[in-house]
């Protein structure tokens, strides 16, 4: 206690005592991963590839044409399952997880009164936002990875084959196929991070996690609608989901990264904007 008090007399100019960052991050992760809805969400995501895999293995008839063309390739190409599931989860399921965890990170803590506690500890506001962003990023990565891992296991089991038939008509062996899955995980994660960053900015502005989550998803749905209006072609390259379809490029041979790279830069821009807005709001808000 005496030592503590001696330390307290340090002048303002000196370095303020801070809890170690790793401890804060660990504590954040422990909290995030014990939250029931995170666990339920992750569990449901893990079921997605299994459900799709079973559905396809039961489906009779040859591969259909048209927009379902990807489904047609699946039988006997088990390693396509994780990619397909990611593709299908991208428009809604994964953003839902990202937005949910971002909504809980600030608005949820605010609603519980726990944000106050952290600010009083004190954790500086900018640092706190960093910790929260880390938590959201980790949940997102875990969610995407769960789909990929479960898909990569369930795919060969349910659909057979440990190779990947590309849209270009070539067949990739196991290792390159897994490489593609890994690329998909990284790419999708960055895209969902962008959703999470925007959700964090909204989350910093409200005390109601539902508002943060709903407005993020509503914005995303509006973007998707705008994407389908062809006369808005000039606007579409600014919208985050513009390149979400290009995850299909990972099933082409040779790999065409151009659209994926554009999408990554777009997501990075959204992350920068989202985190900046969230930081600005955190620095000025009354907790």
């Amino acid at each position: 206690m005496t030592a503590t008090l001696a330390e307290a007399s340090a002048p303002t100019e000196g370095r303020a005592p801070r809890a170690p960052l790793t401890r804060l991050l660990r504590s954040e992760l422990r909290w995030v991963l014990r939250r029931p809805r995170t666990l339920i969400g992750l569990g449901l995501l893990g079921l997605a590839p299994v459900v799709i895999g079973i559905g396809i293995s039961l489906a009779t008839g040859s591969g259909r044409n048209g927009p379902d063309a990807l489904f047609g390739l699946l039988k006997g190409n088990g390693l396509l399952l994780p990619l397909l599931t990611l593709f299908l989860s991208m428009p809604l399921l994964l953003p839902l997880v990202g937005a949910m965890s971002a909504a809980d990170a600030l608005a949820g803590e605010s609603a519980n009164g726990t944000l106050r506690g952290l600010l009083l500890a004190p954790v500086s506001r900018v640092r706190l936002l960093g910790v929260k962003a880390f938590g959201v990023a980790t949940v997102t990565l875990i969610a995407v990875a769960i789909i990929a891992v479960v898909g990569a296991i369930a795919g060969p089991l349910l659909l057979g084959g440990t190779s990947m038939l590309t849209l270009s008509g070539t067949t990739l062996t196991v290792l390159p196929s897994l490489g593609r899955v890994l690329l998909a995980v990284l790419w999708v994660t960055v895209q969902i991070w962008a959703v999470g960053a925007i959700a964090l900015a909204i989350s910093a502005c409200t005390e109601h996690p539902l508002i943060a989550m709903a407005s993020t998803l509503a914005g995303l749905i509006v973007c998707t609608v705008l994407e389908s209006i062809s006369s808005l072609g000039w606007l579409q390259p600014y919208l985050l989901p513009d390149s979400w379809g290009s995850i299909v490029d990972l099933v082409r041979d040779p790999l065409d990264m151009s659209s994926l790279t554009t999408g990554t830069w777009r997501a990075v821009c959204y992350i920068v904007v989202g985190l900046s807005l969230a930081t600005a709001r955190m620095a000025t808000k009354d907790a």
Partner: protein, 334 residues
């Protein structure tokens, strides 16, 4: 007890140790906070002497919580300055806040975590807690507020009182120089209230400064050395409790059945008095008790009992918060 505390809380009784004596643990000047057009707090100059137990009183909506939030850097004041443990906010928050424990606006915890887990999460953010000692600090704090037995249960299942205790435990996780408790006895049963009083007394005895906001006057009167009364967003009175109580104007409580005769007699003698209960209340301004009694007896009033009126906190509070604030300012000590 109150008197003893007052003596202890003098300027000299700064925190022990190597630190140079600081007169004030917290200080605000010209503090103002507006929400849109609503003025929540205005011209608050609050002084919290180190080692004192300051009771912050005020009716609902008088700006107690807003003031506390600004004091802790949670809310940015619209105007004015805050100094906490010698550091100006918000720049010095990083230096000051580690030494401040607070329970503001009720306990805030995660419902799906146990009390212990919740406290460990708080502990992880405490700059002054070494990583290795978090567990012990948490268990000690739980023990201190009597929650050791329920520590493993989910916060969701806690009663209001248990939640309040957990909030107190979080404030006490680290040895603090200043503890800020916003309505700490909310939802506590009488024994819980007593325990909180004991905790405050212990903290006081250990040299810590305590700021308690409450609307329970008895609680404040029993535990505090200093009082600040807020009304309509401003401090209408502050100072040592005993001083404030004495500053109340003296009065004489007279029991009699002959109220109208008594009043007439006193009015004739130009002594201010009014009927109160089964007797009179006579203001002793410009007169003395024997003088009043003589007047009454001479008028043939049957005085059954006469005693000095001792101003209580409740009365002081009522007087401060019900009358014109301008009149109060003049009476403010110092």
């Amino acid at each position: 007890m109150t008197v003893e505390a007052n003596e202890r809380a003098g300027v000299e009784s700064a925190v022990a140790g190597s630190t140079p004596a600081r007169v004030l643990a917290a200080r605000t000047r010209g503090l103002r906070k507006t929400y849109g057009r609503t003025v929540a707090v205005d011209r608050v100059d609050l002084d919290l002497p180190e080692g004192a137990v300051l009771g912050m009183l005020g009716p609902n909506g008088s700006g107690k919580t807003t003031t506390i939030r600004m004091l802790l850097g949670l809310t940015q004041p619209t105007a004015g300055e805050v100094e906490l443990l010698g550091h100006a906010l918000p720049g010095g928050a990083g230096h000051a806040l580690p030494h401040v424990g607070a329970l503001v606006e009720g306990p805030g915890f995660h419902p799906f975590l146990s009390g212990r887990e919740n406290l460990r999460r708080v502990g992880a953010a405490e700059p002054l807690l070494a990583t290795g000692s978090i567990r012990k600090a948490v268990d000690d704090a739980l023990e201190r507020v009597g929650l050791a037995a329920a520590a493993g249960r989910n916060y969701r299942g806690y009663s209001l009182g248990m939640k309040q205790r957990l909030g107190l435990a979080a404030a006490l996780l680290v040895p603090r120089r200043l503890i800020v408790l916003d309505e700490p006895t909310n939802g506590l049963d009488p024994s819980g209230t007593r325990e909180v009083r004991q905790v405050i007394a212990d903290l006081h005895a250990a040299g810590a400064t305590v700021l308690v906001s409450s609307h329970l006057l008895a609680e404040v009167e029993a535990t505090c050395t200093h009082v600040a009364v807020l009304h309509q967003g401003t401090v209408v009175a502050q100072g040592e409790l005993a001083e404030l109580l004495q500053a109340g104007s003296p009065a004489l409580q007279v029991s009699t059945e002959d109220i109208s005769t008594a009043l007439n007699a006193l009015r004739a003698a130009k002594v201010s008095a009014r009927a109160e209960g089964d007797g009179l209340r006579v203001e002793l301004t410009g007169t003395t008790a024997p003088e009043v009694l003589r007047t009454l007896v001479q008028a043939g009033v049957a005085v059954q009992e006469a005693r000095r009126h001792r101003a209580g906190l409740e009365e002081l509070f009522a007087r401060l918060t019900e009358s014109e604030p301008a009149a109060i300012d003049a009476e403010e000590p110092r």
